[in-house]
């Protein structure tokens, strides 16, 4: 490989430039120390690189899903806190599906709203022949055509989750037969 003379020459030159003794005894003598430092070009990132947008990607995807499953925005309005007419636990709500002849609608007491972006759901409780029935619906499911509020309570409870109504005097009733008898 490289002769010792070349390193020794360099040793003298480096030691002279640094002004203190430069020991190369423990270095592999085939590495020629070089004073020249090659500059390496660094290329710019692509114009399309996400950069700081990367942190908001989940919000972007959620926005795209809202546009896909709720283009007119009525589903979002139902969950919007700032909207006075938004759904609230305690309401009695009817969910109407597409192809309603095949798929009968469901009416129930709104026990809880689970706000979780495009995965938001509502939990409806009613009774069918005196047996409590609970069903959970995804608000953004395109199979749901409409969600109607049938009735607001006289006074809202100061709770967002009404799980405690089960078996109490506030329990949901058979709204389906009620609506047939009394036109709820």
């Amino acid at each position: 490989m490289f002769s010792r003379t070349s390193t020794s020459v360099l040793r003298t030159s480096i030691s002279s430039c640094l002004g203190k003794p430069f020991c190369v005894a423990q270095r592999a003598n085939y590495i020629v120390p070089s004073k020249k430092r090659r500059t390496i070009p660094v290329y710019e990132p692509l114009a399309t690189a996400h950069g700081e947008k990367s942190g908001q990607l989940m919000d972007t995807v959620r926005g795209d899903l809202y546009q896909k499953f709720d283009p007119s925005g009525w589903r979002r309005e139902l969950l919007n806190h700032t909207n006075k007419e938004c759904l609230r636990a305690g309401d009695i709500v009817r969910v109407i599906f597409k192809d309603s002849l095949k798929n009968p609608s469901y009416v129930g007491y709104l026990m809880a709203i689970d706000r979780n972006g495009p995965d938001s759901t509502i939990l409806l409780r009613s009774k069918v022949s005196q047996v409590g029935v609970e069903r959970r619906f995804s608000i953004y499911n395109p199979f749901i055509e409409r969600i109607d509020r049938v009735r607001k309570p006289y006074k809202y409870n100061q709770r967002n989750r009404h799980y405690y109504i089960k078996g109490s005097k506030r329990d949901a009733s058979d709204y389906e037969s009620l609506s047939k008898r009394t036109g709820l």
Partner: protein, 270 residues
Amino acid sequence: MSLLNTILFNSRIISSYPKLVRTGASLTSLDAAVTTITSKAAPVNHSAEMARLRKRLPSRPGLVGVKKGMISYFTPSGEKFPCTVVEIDSVEVLYTKTPAKEGYYAVQLGYGAVSSKKISRAMLGHFARAEVNPKEAIYEFQVKDETGLLEIGTELKADHFKEGQYVDLKSVSKGKGFAGVMKRWHFAGLRASHGTSVAHRHGGSYGQNQTPGRVYPGRKMPGHMGHKNATIQNSEVIEVNAEKGYILIKGPISGANGTFVKIQDAIKKQ
């Protein structure tokens, strides 16, 4: 007598055996002599080259992505299923490998962008040769032959995959630390009462006594769980957005959010 002769004659014929009869010195001509046939040695199966040819490899490279989170998706008929969001950000070809030099065909891809101060000079030189920016991560995809190799510097976008196609997903699973046998191997543990003492979550016996006098290899024991390469096969691509740089994939992907994921055409659907 003649009959006897005939029998003898016949018997002689029957008993005669081809004998080497020397009829005199003879030299076979050089033309007629059988020349030495040099046969080509069959390739050794137990070699890197043959192992590569045996491998079931995709015809083109995949993509590198980052798992960002999960989300719900709906079919028009109202079925709901979970989807994983994978970010695809400035994926570029850094280098290609060939059998002549590295022993196999592969495409090296870089992901994202990172400050040049965080990169060693050796790697800066590698990025500069491909004329791309310093990358956050580098992954390599083996391909079947040279038709799968891409030009250095090519950008791969999310539309590398089509909606509805199936992919394999490789990533590192979530690390669970040093885990006991109940968590790691789903052992049942010991009884809660009836004399069980400080061994409720133990695995029981590790084997027999003097015969064999050792613990068999592969015995399930406590140890480090997770943080392993995990592959999920045949996941469906639900949505592709090349402009915004993401892919929605049906179902889960191993690892925490922020994990790098290798996405490839499903090897079992080709």
